[in-house]
C-alpha cells in the first residue's frame, strides 16, 4: 500500500491504495472529478523528493505527495 497526500489548497484527505508505479496512481486520480483541476499543474514528490516521470516505481509504505502551484513570500 502507498499513501497519497494532497498539500496546500487541495482539500482532500490522504488516500491509501495499491500501486506499483506513479502511473497506477495517475489512473486512480483521473477517475476523481474533483482532482481534474489539479493533475495538470501539480508537481509530485515520492518520499519528499520531487520526481519527473510516471514510470517511477513504488513500493509498500511509500508516500506520494501532490504539490499544487506555489506562491511563497
Amino acid at each position: 500500500m502507498v499513501t497519497i497526500e494532497f498539500l496546500g489548497p487541495i482539500q482532500k484527505a490522504p488516500l491509501t491504495l495499491e500501486a506499483s508505479s506513479l502511473r497506477d496512481v495517475a489512473e486512480v486520480l483521473k477517475q476523481d472529478s474533483e482532482m481534474a483541476q489539479w493533475l495538470e499543474n501539480c508537481a509530485v514528490a515520492l518520499n519528499d523528493t520531487l520526481v519527473a516521470t510516471l514510470d517511477t516505481p513504488l513500493k509498500d509504505g511509500d508516500k506520494v505527495s501532490l504539490l499544487p502551484p506555489v506562491c511563497g513570500g
Binding site: 498539500l7 496546500g8 489548497p9 506513479l22 496512481v25 495517475a26 486520480l29 483521473k30 493533475l39 495538470e40 499543474n41 501539480c42 508537481a43 509530485v44 514528490a45 519528499d48 523528493t49 520531487l50 520526481v51 519527473a52 516521470t53 510516471l54 505527495s65 501532490l66 504539490l67 499544487p68 502551484p69 506555489v70 506562491c71 511563497g72 513570500g73
Partner: protein, 148 residues
Amino acid sequence: MVELYNGALNVPEIITRWYAEEAEYNYGAYIPFIGTVREEDAIEGLSFDVYEPILNGWFDAWQVKAQALGAKLKMAHSRGDVLVHESSYIAAVFSPKRRVALEMIEQFVEDFKASAPIWKYDLKNSQRLYAADRSTAIAGAGILGGKQ
C-alpha cells in the same frame, strides 16, 4: 534549516540576530531581503501553508551552491496568518564579496518564488482564499495529468 514562525515575523530580531551570528566569519557583504504584506485588493492579510520536508531539502541544496562560492544563506518564513504591513518572508545572503552576494540574493529569491513549497491565501471577509492567479506550477508539474 529554514526558520518557520507562526504568524508575522519579528523582523528586527531576525535581521539583527543573523548579523550578530555571522559577525566573526569575515563576510564583506550581508543582504537580507524582507517581504512585507501589501495592503491591496481589500485584503486583511495573507495566510500561508508550508510543507517543511521539501522546503528544507530545497534550502539545503541552495546552501550547498552558496558554500561553493564561500557564501551562506539564511531564511525565515511565516505559517498561518500575516496581516497587512506585517512581514512574512526574509531571505539573506552573507558573502566575502559584493558581486556574489548581489547575484545570489536575486537568484535565491526568484527560485524561492518559483519552487518553494509554500501556498498563499488571501484573507478577505474572514475567508481564506487560495491565491491561484499569483501561484506558479513547480518545474516538472503535470505528470499525473499526462504532461511529461
